[in-house]
């Protein structure tokens, strides 16, 4: 059945490639859509960076480039191979993103497969193909790949982190991947906390008396080494100048480029009184981080984490943390939503689909998100193109989107907690999942 999912992925790649070739302006159109492109991830910004590098202008001295130097440099090297042939460069660059996305899918499918194998699920093969179909033919995913958004690379490295942890069980590689993801888009650095939690949990399972300090250092040292290495490379590439730090990470932290997007930040900072602006930049940055530690700590030493079959891999706080990072970050896109859906599917298979049974309002939250995804381009059009609506329309849809995504994540937490309750109640013995449960909290 390996052939089955490989076939689906190949089909998806072919479809995307055909779309790139047949509709040359489509990726440019998506790149300018606020749902798929932000100043910090847009493809045209990378192209501008390549152009400025070629003309010996410092890309980080103002301007529109907020991508890390290594990425720009790599792309400009690739572009040099194509010379002035713009069509082949366009297809090749599209292919780079498509391959990165396929790699992400393969890694995540491998993780799911491993979970399925451990449960000895009889429908393993079918599920794998279904996952592959969900990953490749998800319209949000296809559109986000075609938009050539650089967040795809960041997502690839986050997926690699999970892959290295779960499939390869290689902590150093996972930490290095996380560092690369962080280097590309800043926000993944928050995942360091759940990642360390994962490492401690894994080490406990491999050798129960390993010290926590050792586990932490095993996770931190490769991370810091890779990250500083990349920063130093960037420093060298950028003509011994650190100004790229402000342009890349500073833009994310201080929210200097206010552009409409799906997040909660932009309209707030347009409308906020200038006097409070700096204070709220701090508040929003804290809000970005505030879910990480509680989630990590809550699930670190719970009995459930230690009792479930796939208990070696504590991916639940990791995935949920990234979900909340996406919800609260400064420049979210629909690409992130697509990736979060992929990650949430991992949780489903980690718990042998039982987590789905305890979702309280899946229809409401999914419909909220779909509602927002469909209406946001319409309301944006009304505001920007036809002038018959104003910015409040689009803002309202942002709120709905955030609410929908938030509820989706909250539902997963609830469902996971319910599973945990059942496990603790029965001390890990066989549980009747189909029994009607009425749970509450005190």
């Amino acid at each position: 059945m390996v052939k089955g999912y490989a076939f689906v992925l190949a089909l998806g790649l072919a479809l995307e490639l055909i779309m790139t070739i047949l509709f040359p302006s489509f990726s440019g159109f998506l790149d300018s859509a606020v749902e798929f492109s932000t100043p910090v991830t847009s493809w045209r910004s990378i192209e501008e960076g390549i152009f400025l590098l070629k003309h010996n202008i410092d890309p980080y001295d103002g301007g529109v480039v907020y991508h890390p130097p290594v990425l720009i440099k790599l792309f400009s090297q690739v572009k040099d191979l194509f010379g002035t042939n713009t069509t082949s460069w366009r297809i090749a660059s599209g292919l780079i993103f498509q391959i990165a996305d396929i790699l992400t899918s393969i890694e995540l499918i491998q993780i799911s497969k491993k979970f399925l194998r451990e449960y000895k699920n009889p429908k393993q093969g079918t599920y794998t193909v279904l996952i592959a179909i969900f990953y490749t033919f998800n319209p949000i995913k296809i559109l986000s790949v075609l938009s050539n958004s650089s967040i795809i690379f960041s997502n690839l490295f986050i997926a690699s982190t999970l892959y290295s942890m779960v499939v390869l069980e290689n902590v150093a590689l996972a930490a290095a991947s996380l560092a690369m993801g962080t280097y590309l888009s800043y926000n993944p650095c928050f995942l360091l906390f759940p990642f360390i939690g994962m490492v401690i949990n894994l080490k406990n399972h491999l050798s129960p008396c390993s010290s926590i300090i050792k586990s932490i250092s095993v996770a931190l040292i490769p991370f810091i080494a890779t990250f500083t290495g990349l920063l130093y490379c960037s420093y060298i590439i950028n003509n011994n100048n650190w100004n790229f730090l402000m342009a890349t990470y500073g833009t994310n932290i201080f929210f200097t480029k206010i552009n409409p997007n799906l997040g909660l930040w932009w309209y707030f900072f347009i409308e906020i009184f200038e006097f409070f602006s700096k204070f709220f930049i701090g508040v929003f940055n804290i809000y970005n981080l505030v879910y990480i530690l509680p989630l990590t700590i809550r699930f670190q030493n719970s009995k459930f984490s230690n009792l479930q079959i796939n208990n070696k891999y504590l991916i639940f706080p990791f995935v949920l943390s990234y979900g909340f990072v996406v919800l609260t970050k400064a420049y979210p896109t629909l690409n992130d939503l697509g990736f979060i859906c992929q990650l949430l599917l991992l949780l489903v298979f980690q718990n042998d689909l039982k987590i789905l049974k305890f979702l309280r309002y899946p229809i409401v939250s999914i419909l909220l998100v779909i509602h927002a995804v469909i209406l946001s381009p319409i309301f944006y059009y009304l505001w920007i193109f036809s002038g018959s609506g104003n910015s409040n329309f689009f803002y309202a849809i942002n709120l709905v989107y955030s609410l929908g995504l938030g509820f989706m994540l909250i539902d997963f937490i609830w469902s996971y907690l319910s599973l945990e309750y059942l496990f603790e109640k029965n001390n890990g013995k066989e549980v009747d999942y189909d029994a009607k449960l009425r749970l509450t909290q005190i």
């Binding site: 301007g63 529109v64 193109f385 005190i442």
Partner: protein
């Protein structure tokens, strides 16, 4: 004592008249009829200061001056400014029908206000500090909002505006495209003149009329010039003021005739008889069969005053060319007359001062040096049949037409489309200068060039057209984007340059009061250049600018937020944030139990009704009471 104090003043004025010590003043009014009843007038004032040693301090310099405006000199020496150019422009010069800009465009600016200066400084920062001081002072001086010039609109041009790349000299430039140009800008300019608008041609300057014209462009150029003839290191200042106007003569005349906009009586209508015409229909015509005859005071609203004269004063009329660029034959000169009339109570009896014959070979008339008494003159400009024949000679046509427009109708992005049309038979080298505000985020990699010659159209290699590019990226709220392109426009072709930009959202408080009106973009400056034929092949090649033109300003609409929303947004966003966080926090810290267990626990717990609270309160009071008793 009084006599003693007056004596030097008298002495000074004598000096001025005699133009001793190198200082001089010359003024000239030139009148050039343009097609379709338009008249171009140019007031030109040239003031030169006396020479002085460059090391001397400003107070001693000023004490040497008599006809040169002291106030400006003070400012220049305080800010180490070597050259200063200011342009006030409003309206549109129709080069398709009016031909080249006056003075080859060197004295006209883009719509609004434009200012550039060469400042001597040890560093860029020092130059900028001086520049800020300069613009703030000039702001009060010229009653213009020059004080709004800050780092967000100031550029350092590389090739344009006669940058000489001298060590320690910085060229700074800024423009205010939205500045309305009106009479209050004129008064300070008149005050710079030694005649103060009381005598000579400056007595004709009346703001109400000057700014009621199709195109107004006022230029002030102040240069520091090294003189090499006399002592070492001696310099002098040269101030050139040009006031250019284009009047629509029939319109100006009809405004005097009918101050209220009443319908024109049928017999006064100038109809185009080639088109359908009857008692109820009349297509207006631009052809004046009887010619046009008018007194200059109708156009300028004032009469020329002659007083004790300072320097050279001339009135010139340039209509000595036909459509082919040949000189008008002597016998046709009668069609074009400039008459001076000494005005008196009754105009009919006023005696003719001079007629066309009174003009010299340059078509100029020198205003008499010593009038018998203080007089007012009236000039009559008569354009007989020839007014219909006025066409622009090929020589006077501009070599290139440049237009710039914005593409795209969406509020979040757009593009520029710049069209260079070269109808001539030779390639043209030019420098395209553009300064754009930071809220337009340029993507220069999207720059595309399309060449259209005669019938075929193809995308050309950028390198063939753009020889060199100097691009400074914008920094938000700190620096505008500056783009200078050295280009070569091939003969008989139309070059279209396009590139795109994103429009940024501004902060709530950064929008001007009428945000949906849009934001004005300053005009692009196109300088036509000729490379100097030098033996050395050194780069960059030296060049001479020979014509300057500017595109019209553009209006760009930015996306706007809803300005009534701040409180709502703060409340709604915070609510969503708190709702999600609260729910998550609740889930994480609370213990999960089944509902049956919960009800059991609830039964065990004491009921929290009013009696419970009263009991609680009683026990508390009791305990404190007992405590105090113990003490």
């Amino acid at each position: 004592m009084l006599l003693l104090s007056i004596l030097p003043l008298f002495f000074c004025s004598v000096l001025a008249i005699r133009s001793d010590g190198g200082s001089s003043f010359a003024e000239e009014l030139s009148l050039t009829p343009l097609p379709n009843g338009h008249l171009h007038t140019n007031f030109n004032f040239n003031i030169t200061s006396s020479e002085f040693a460059s090391q001397s301090n400003s107070s001693s310099i000023i004490s040497n001056f008599n006809i040169f405006p002291n106030s400006l000199i003070n400012l220049l020496s305080q800010t180490n400014t070597k050259n200063l150019s200011i342009r006030f422009t409003s309206g549109y010069w129709n080069s398709e029908s009016w031909g080249k800009l006056p003075h080859d465009g060197h004295t006209s600016g883009g719509n609004g206000l434009e200012l550039w200066a060469k400042i001597e400084a040890s560093s860029k920062e020092e130059a900028f500090t001086n520049w800020r001081f300069l613009v703030n002072s000039l702001s009060g001086f010229f009653c213009a909002s020059l004080n709004f010039i800050d780092e967000t609109i100031t550029t350092f041009p590389e090739y344009s505006f006669g940058n000489t790349h001298d060590q320690g000299i910085y060229l700074l430039r800024a423009a205010l495209p939205r500045e309305p140009i009106c009479t209050e800008n004129l008064t300070p300019i008149i005050k710079l003149l030694p005649t103060k608008g009381r005598a000579g041609i400056s007595s004709l300057l009346d703001g109400h009329k000057l700014f009621d014209s199709k195109w107004v462009s006022t230029s002030i150029d102040l240069n520091t010039i090294d003189s090499h003839n006399s002592q070492e290191d001696s310099i002098y200042y040269k101030l050139v003021i040009n006031l250019n106007n284009v009047f629509n003569v029939p319109m100006s005349l009809s405004k005097i005739k009918r101050p209220l906009p009443k319908p024109i009586p049928g017999e006064e209508l100038n109809c185009d008889y080639d088109k359908f015409y009857d008692a109820y229909h009349c297509f207006p015509s631009n052809v004046y069969n009887e010619g046009l005859s008018f007194d200059l005071d109708k156009i300028f609203g004032r009469k020329l005053k002659i007083d004790e004269k300072i320097g050279d004063s001339k009135i010139c009329a340039y209509v000595n060319k036909t459509a082919n660029g040949e000189l008008i034959p002597e016998n046709e000169k009668q069609n074009w007359e400039l008459q001076g009339v000494l005005s008196s109570q009754n105009k009919e009896t006023g005696h003719l001062l001079f007629a066309y014959a009174g003009l010299d070979e340059n078509n100029c008339y020198s205003i008499p040096n010593k009038p018998e008494k203080r007089e007012e003159f009236d000039y009559k400009l008569e354009l007989k049949n020839s007014y219909n024949n006025i066409r622009i000679s090929d020589e006077d046509k501009p070599k290139i037409y440049v237009s710039r427009s914005i593409t795209g109708y969406e509020l979040d992005k757009g593009g520029f489309r710049i069209v260079f049309k070269n109808p001539g038979d030779e390639d043209i080298d030019l420098i395209y200068f553009e300064s754009l505000p930071w809220y337009l985020r340029l993507y220069l990699n999207s720059l595309k060039i399309v060449q259209k010659s005669l019938d075929q159209q193809d995308t050309v290699n950028n390198e063939e057209i753009i020889k060199d590019i100097s691009y400074v990226t914008a920094i938000d709220r700190q620096r505008p984007a500056k783009l200078e392109m050295v280009m070569k426009i091939p003969k008989q072709s139309i070059i279209t340059v396009t590139y795109s930009f994103d429009k940024s959202l501004l902060l709530y408080s950064e929008y001007p009061p009428d945000a949906n009106h849009g934001f004005e973009l300053e005009s692009a400056v196109v300088t036509l250049i000729k490379y100097q034929e030098s033996t050395s092949t050194s780069e960059p090649k030296e060049f001479d600018p020979y014509y300057v033109l500017r595109t019209s300003t553009l209006l760009v609409s930015l996306p706007t937020p809803d300005f009534s929303m701040p409180y709502n947004v703060i409340i709604l966003t915070s609510t969503i944030m708190a709702l999600i966080f609260g729910t998550v926090f609740n889930l994480l810290i609370k213990r999960i139990i089944s509902e049956e267990d919960y009800e059991k626990l609830l039964e065990q717990a004491p009921k929290k009704n009013l009696q419970y609270f009263i009991a609680l309160l009683k026990s508390k009071v009791k305990s404190t009471f007992q405590k105090s008793k113990k003490d």
